[in-house]
Symmetry: C3
Subunit: 390 residues, 3 copies
């Protein structure tokens, strides 16, 4: 019991501190302070000030809606004079975090289910029925072969297929793009972000804007960097692309909204940064299915109840709205981790200077004698070293 | 060789430990132990227990499907008595991580491509042909101006346009909302999550539920917090909004599913937490395009083959399903990092107490003599201090 | 002033290093070196080499487009002989990060708005008008009840409803699936990724591929692991599922593209890893709404201008393209944090060996006397210990 109390008293009322040898030497002292200063500059300057090592970070959670505006007119032999507005060229009408605007198209109107000649290519051109296999279908087919070889046009025969007839001929892509004027269309992007860890929300339509400004502004990186309305041609140009070139085969653009915020500052400093990037492979030569296109159909019923459809292979620009960012706010844990690591690094200064002092300098043996106390192992029974207190 | 062996023997068979001066002083001892206890409490209590600093974290990878149910009837002069079911008001029929339910609409049926009077506003109202520029089109136009000024109605003349006629008149938004009953529609949300780092998967339809329960339950934060079927009106109410108000101009709701899981516990403890938030700006006065709406068209062909369309400007509530969360599981690395930083922090206790002992206390000079050993630099040739071993 | 200069000189030109007692003991020395070696092995082997603790990490930002190819033919009494191509079975025609392919369907053609008998179930079967409440509608209803009880077929009477008539009968799901051949359809997936922190972009169509290879390859985990074209049946099989079974009620598949890249190596080492997983609950017995289905309608106008629709309850496989991954690149901060923590851990070796030497070994009292210097607190006036320098 007494021994227990003695141990507790010893534990609570004792303070142990390492014994230090202070070497008064200009050279070593300056080296030591220089190394310590370097470490301090690194910890404070780089870790804390530049990289904000005292902050906890969180990723953004975002919601986006878009609205396109614009009208254009075309005049072709197939379709005649025709107006195109939002309901015609935005497909589908609403999407999450993306918007597709048709810029070019190949229309195959009035398709019926029936038998007709397949599109000519290496596999479908034929001389007689023996070249055509009934029931054959490949990945690139428009329909199921019947086995017959029939005229596709006056000069070529191809295998007959059961398909939506007439089959689509998608070889000559219209050049220039059908809806050239799409360059002038505008897209309003409304974006709401939330940093869940810090319960911080903000919208990209800043509270300082008036309705009049918002109705008429167009985004410009220099003059209107926070206007949420983007002209389609400007988006493409800012990514270093040529709109009319891209409009022919379509493509995918990224409209990136970056919300890197320092939440130790006022909320008004947390603003979006817009950037633009082309996301698909522009190089037609080294890819399959260049650009961006897909097929959709409008279905009709004629007076006899037979279903017909208009197949449209539509090329256009899909704009992916990519919202990303990190918020940082002061938190104890990362601060302590970095302080702790910094303190440990100061130990490296001591290690380095020790090496210089004890192994490299002329007076190293002298310093070693001051620093180290050698204790030999002793054999039981020898009383010489026992009890020596120094 | 012998010197090499000597060095190796010295390296392997020596153990160096710092020499310590143990100061028996109640005051300093207690201060020292108090600071060390504080640091220990911080490391164990805050870093390890509260913030779970011993865990590696991973973000959630998620997949969501939705299914809406509900039927309502409307009776208007334009459309007559009409039933609306899922295929009519969910647009598009399926979407990834979102679902749109129409609540209000402005229908412009039987539009043909042709010439008609533009909607009256500051730019389109005219007295005679000189006010209208042929070929002019602005962002807010419905069509391309022809140059003529024609009657819009008995009192106003506007510029003629080539457009889908008659042009849409979207000024009087129906109040109350057209599909008021949408408040009673229900949405089943099926969510599957995966933490890739820990290869852990779970679904929001918990295995403890029976089919009967799932067929009839409605989510309630208190009584049925894990039922995956949500009543639309309850979602809006839980976010602090008024459904009928929101239904008029539409809006965007966030249905947030939070999967913060501690994977050191049983898998049954990993359950979703649902919360609801309005994502768009409610304030109509300080924003453009308040609420949420978009236009889509249904295309028809009349008996003569002329294409007509019914344009619908549809307002509604889009529900973004936002799944987020972090899983934590014990891992050696973050544990070691935090232990290491904690150990380094103990060094701070020594630094602090050293300052108190060596600079603040009455007996500081006494303690300094016990701690420090001053070694002067010496000049070669002086044999006084050389060889003194202490 | 002089004191100030003296303090500065003291600070700059002094170097303090802890005094060390070197115990020459084989046992303790070996224990010490073994523990230090273990810590070193852990820090270098595990933290730096295995877990790449010297790297900064970043999450992937991704964009995906898909294109489906394939044609199939069906022959049923309801629809006759019919061809199905991409525009018919991919709904909607384009989606972001997902693609839905219809495999089974229940078609209810020629629906008009009107009065007809509700589908029989526990709530709708009736004997006479008293069982039917006018205006009643439940979540599972097809329409609003009128209050009348009319024949559904020759044997059952159900409540009359105002709905799209005839109501859909979705009880017998076609087995086997309607579009069995969907197993052979192919999906081209084009994926572009971006690590914003390192400004690194890459596409999943690797630059080493020729157009010919890309036109004809099919993804195979062993022979063609980087071909971006996937056969639908193979996707399902690779996830351990049976395609024909899954095609009946539909389901959700995940096509996971993992981009874990070490950006300290050449960019060519950064390649995608594809994996497949079923995301919905396969077990029909323990879930509601098994599989994956939704309803959509095609709208027509007959010659008298009355609107009709064809309602399709479509079952199919939705493939969610899930892109995830982390890139790592050498960075100073995490390296320093881990080095700092490692250095602090070396201190643990000293703590452990101290415990062994000072408390466990036979010669512990001897070692304690070498290590510790006991200093008693003194009372002012006693000059005994003051000034003793050792």
């Amino acid at each position: 019991m007494a021994a227990c109390g003695e141990a507790v008293r010893g534990f609570l009322f004792e303070y142990d501190t390492p014994r230090i040898v202070l070497i008064r030497s200009r050279k070593v002292g300056l080296i030591n302070r220089a190394v310590q200063l370097g470490i301090l500059a690194y910890v404070i300057g780089w870790v804390f000030l530049w990289e904000k090592g005292y902050q906890e970070t969180d990723s953004v959670v975002s919601s986006v809606t878009t609205k396109v505006k614009g009208v254009t007119m075309t005049n072709t032999s197939t379709l005649g004079t025709r107006i195109w507005d939002v309901a015609d060229y935005v497909i589908p009408p609403q999407e999450k975090n993306a918007v597709f605007i048709m810029t070019n198209m190949i229309v195959t109107p009035n398709q019926h289910q029936g038998h007709c000649a397949e599109l000519p290519d290496d596999n479908t051109v034929c001389k007689d029925n023996s070249s055509c296999v009934p029931g054959y279908v490949s990945i690139h087919s428009n329909g199921i072969q019947t086995g017959a070889c029939i005229p596709y046009n006056r000069s070529i025969n191809t295998c007959e297929v059961f398909a939506w007839c007439p089959v689509e001929d998608d070889y000559p892509i219209p050049k220039p793009a059908f809806l050239q004027e799409a360059e002038n269309f505008t897209i309003l992007v409304k974006n709401n972000i939330w940093y869940s860890k810090f319960n911080f929300t903000k919208r990209n339509i800043l509270p300082t804007f008036s309705s009049t400004y918002l109705k008429n502004c167009i985004y410009d990186a220099q003059t209107d960097p926070f206007c949420p309305i983007f002209r389609l041609g400007n988006i493409v140009k800012a990514a270093g692309q040529n709109f009319q070139e891209m409009a022919v085969e379509g493509g995918v653009m990224g409209l990136q909204i970056n919300w890197d915020c320092n939440l130790d500052r006022a909320a008004s400093h947390c603003v979006p940064k817009y950037s633009f990037r082309r996301l698909d492979n522009k190089d037609s030569a080294n890819t399959i299915s260049p650009g961006y296109n897909f097929r959709f159909a409008k279905y009709y019923k004629d007076s006899s109840g037979i279903e017909t459809r208009t197949l449209t292979k539509t090329y256009g620009i899909r704009i992916d709205i990519i919202v990303f960012g990190k918020a940082g706010k002061f938190d104890v844990i990362p601060t302590m981790i970095n302080i702790g690591s910094g303190l440990a690094l100061f130990g490296a200064a001591t290690v380095l200077c020790d090496i210089i002092v004890l192994y490299c300098m002329k007076k190293r043996y002298f310093y070693r004698e001051k620093k180290y106390k050698y204790v030999e192992d002793y054999e039981v029974g020898t009383s010489e070293t026992y009890g020596t207190n120094s």
